[in-house]
Amino acid sequence: MNAAAEAPTSTVVVNGSRMELIDRGRGRPILFLHPHIGLDPSTPVLAMLAEGGRLIAPSHPGFGHSERPAGLTTVDDLAYFYLDLMDTLDLRDSLVIGVSLGAWIAAAIAVKSTARMARLVLGNPVGIKVGDRETRDILDIFAMVEGEFLEKSFADPAAGKRDYSTMTDDEVTVVARNRETAALYTWSPYMHDPKLKSRLHRIRIPTLVLWGAADRLVNETYGRAFCAALPNGTFETIAGAGHFLHIEQPKAFAARTLAFGGQMTD
């Protein structure tokens, strides 16, 4: 991790819970919702996104150094929490971006209310059930050793590798905390909300589904099915990226996202 490139984190209190977030850049709000592996403040895509507006990238409750309010245990709870966060920060006409679990959260927010959103970008979203009852749409990340997880989720597994021996205690603690909190939200039903698919029709704002084409945790058919359930969805792929496309292809991810967001009406 390159400390010099790290964005400074600040905090915001939402409903009495202290949230860690990156708040940088100026202009229209861009809310970035991270995947289940957490938010690395030094990941290059953040600076790129901040060139297109005011980037707000929180660590979800229970991730990073963010508190988790008692009783907040589901993605549905997270969605209500983020509606409150958007109220607290008075975000208007936001571009909301989520990757993987973050995309599920973004969709769960948007089916409730898009009042503070203009456009939505979902990177390799999870959160719906597509296949039949004996088909696991998304590989069981909790039944994999780390090497297999990296191989399935990255086009180049080296892109996701971490050396725990050189990380600080705090950084390793965050990794362990992220893993536990991810399981809290996604263990069962595994990586989806059985109700979400039938509610996606409520998201009427323009939505871009960006798909890292080398994802082997979940396949493109799933991504296309997600997009097809959106009334105003567009599906595009990004080559050379797996499940975490914002990490592997940050330039392409930021450029496509901001270009799509640039069509926002002010």
């Binding site: 069981d140 390793v172 603690t173 893993r179 536990e180 909190t181 991810a182 399981a183 809290l184 069962s188």
Partner: protein, 395 residues
Amino acid sequence: MRVYQFTEQPYYPAWSDHNGSLRVNLPNARQDPKIAADLLHRYYDEWLVADEVGLDIMVNEHHATATCMSCTAIVALSVLARETKRARLLVLGYPIGLRPDPLRCAEELATIDVLSRGRLDMGFVKGVPYEFPVSNQNAVGVMERFWESHDFIIKAMTSHGEPFNWESEHFHYRHVNLWPRPYQNPHPPVWSTTGSRGNARVLGEKGYVMATLGTGFATRKLFDAYRAGYVSAGRQAPAADRFGYLGLVAVAANERAARARAEFIAGYVRTSGIVAPQFRNPPGYLSIEDNVRILRGEKRQRSGTRDGRFIDMHSASVQDLIDAAIMFCGTPDQVYAQIVDFCEYCGGMGNLVMMGHAGSLSHDDTVDNLTLFAKEVLPRLKEYKQPRAEAPAAA
């Protein structure tokens, strides 16, 4: 002292060909139901021997594994409640952390208690890590769910008036009304297990029987944490009957025969941890601090000898196991001396959960092991006056 005879009812014929995992993902095609039937009947016969010779009985359950065919302790308890005459029947444990329906648990256990005319000891456990993926229960928050389940079961067993209502974080019921109610009043004794000092203290506060497994000469600190919790609730130091310990036992007329028997029984500790690595540590089962240590590649060491040497269960020799008090092995005199020595070290340990059968130990060897123990060791252990350690001032 009480001594409970325990076997996991292993399907050992599958142990030789497992591709690195005896649990969770070993295909059940490796099991022949006819052999399984023969083994199960044999294991019940051996428990009946235990009942006849004056031992008590412990059963447990595990899931999706060739190490333990008892996949629901209720089946074993049901058979034994009816077929045994006098033994206390300890389930250690009933994995309520994996159970979605504590009302059903309460009903089953109450019925067993009635059927056995009050011989049930009711051990609650959260469940082993690799069985969370099997049960689909979330290991995150399992202790909160465990205690709510416990609270509900005790409330159900002790409520004798109008049906009650339960609407809480994890469980929701209306019209709870247990028929039959438990035979023992107010309810069967509660046991649990732990490997953590924090949990040991909580069990002490509640005054339940606490058993440890595989903790060897790292046991005393757990017992002391229990003692601290026990006296913090305004009681005198706990008697030895509040403590249990699982020990493998191989006894024979001479040391050589006992060691030969021990090699079979050691199959338990040598196979118990054979599970595919991806199932060993589901998120939430261990603390964040423990997971940090694991990410950093630090090994978790549990089983120590008296002189502080840690024992790797997979590769431990019989002598290692004896040195670590994981196994009590030798002639009746030697086994008695080893157990007493361990009780003295513990400051009192009044319930030996004796693994007198494990692995591929034969029926004849098992019967001889149990019979000799009951004849030569048990009477002396019953006479033995346990120490009663005070709670440590700073625990």
